[in-house]
Amino acid sequence: MTSSVEAAVADAHRHEWAFVLAATVRVTGDIDVAEECVQDAYARALASWPNRGVPARPGAWLTTVARRRAIDLRRRRSTHDRSLPRLVRAAVTDPDEMEIDADADGRAVADDRLRLIFTCCHPAIAPEAQVALTLRLLCGLTTVEVARAFLVNEAAMAARITRAKKKIAAAHVPYRVPSAEELPARLDAVLTVVHLLFTTGHTAPAGADLVRRDMVERSLDLARMLHALLPDDPDVTGLLALILLTDARRPGRVDDSGQMVLLADQDRSDWDRAVIGEGVALVREALRRRPPGRFALMAAIAAVHAESPSWNATDWREIVGLYSLLLAIWPSPVVALNRAVAVGFADGPEAGLDALDALATEPVLAAYSYLASSRADFLRRLGRVTEARLAYQEALLLTENAVEREFLENCLRRLGH
């Protein structure tokens, strides 16, 4: 019983946090105070639901409790706290209208969740703070959890969040959905943050596990939320498709003993076909806009892999073509690297090696283990064992992820002496 209540609270925390917070900001007009009230509401749920049962609509219950707490605080604080700077200036709902059904202003609150994420991902805030604020305010993670996700110590993360909140208040970073003309650029910043969360989870930069499941799930939740709020935006659709299609292959990426398995060697019957189906349908939708955006193109590449029956049957020409389109709209060295690797599979290791060597002077890639490990793989296939060994050793110097390191060490061992 208790554990099912705990699960219900955890589920409400994961799925309703942003909604409850946004609805509470409507009452407090301030994010900091609203956060406090929402935390309090979740604590009360833990205390009350075991006796009174899980409410039919947990989000509505939590919203009502958090809002009541907000009114309480406002009455108590109104006299002496007036001078505190507000984090945002949101329109405040009249307390008399507060007991209305939480659904009644659901549409407005949905809009408020967008305001919240656009405030968190404002370009005037440092990128690493954008990510941290998004996890805090949209996903309800504690500072400790955010710190753990990014391998930063707690004090440093707390300082980062405090500094960002101060800037939002002092510089009046607006709490609103950007106008139609600003929207594409501002939305791109939001999607970049969500994508960064996903990639951080998908291949953890350090630590014992290859995948940080929690970060992947948070990014998927955010992408689903954005897609529900902006269903017609092809970039949002593209990002959701990309996350689904990449994550659908997760069950094949690590074997039973926790070792990393390359795409080429994965058992494709492990892949989640239902998720792939959902992702492919979304990719088709996202590709309708011409020219397609970067997330739609990345998702299309993931879809080619996901739908290919085997590694050998992969349409590498299609993949090289998609990477070329991607490189044209997003000239990033990492995209160029991925394209070069695909060239190696489409036209043979010699061609791949040439394409990789053309990128050798790219400073961004110098510290990137994937360039060295890809070179190593092409060299091995060409029988250039000594050079391959050096390249694997170089790749080992560049990654801290335990699973990736083990994989590279195995490759080295297999090369022999």
Binding site: A171, H172, E182
Partner: protein, 115 residues
């Protein structure tokens, strides 16, 4: 309404070597910027180059050390400013984007109020 100071940071050597025609053009751009945003501009000035600056720093004996030059030597130096009124940072940035600063850029700082 909040106020923001838009600080213009530019490369002074570029200004030293500017052709008279170009100089006139930039001045005209400031003129039209001022007219375009007259409603929200609360003030503004161009500054003499940092070579004319004098800096004062408190010394250990309670007095001041007076030195020739700007407080901090940077490639792009503060060369002028506008004080603008705006509802929020986005509005301020929209005005700041129009400030002519061909040899550098601008920094937008919210004005602090004490009440």
């Amino acid at each position: 309404m909040a106020e923001y100071l838009v600080l213009i940071y530019e490369d002074e050597t570029a200004w030293d070597n500017v052709e008279p025609d170009r100089f006139g053009k930039i001045m005209a751009e400031h003129q039209s910027f001022g007219e375009r945003h007259a409603k929200v501009i609360r003030g503004g000035n161009a500054l003499q180059p940092t070579g004319t600056a004098t800096s004062l720093r408190k010394d250990t004996s309670g007095g001041y050390t007076v030195t020739d030059g700007a407080f901090a030597e940077t490639k792009e130096a503060l060369g002028g400013y506008y004080l603008v009124e705006a509802a929020d940072l986005d509005e301020a940035l929209a005005v700041a984007r129009d400030v002519p600063a061909p040899f550098g850029g601008v920094e937008v700082r919210p004005i602090r109020t004490f009440d």
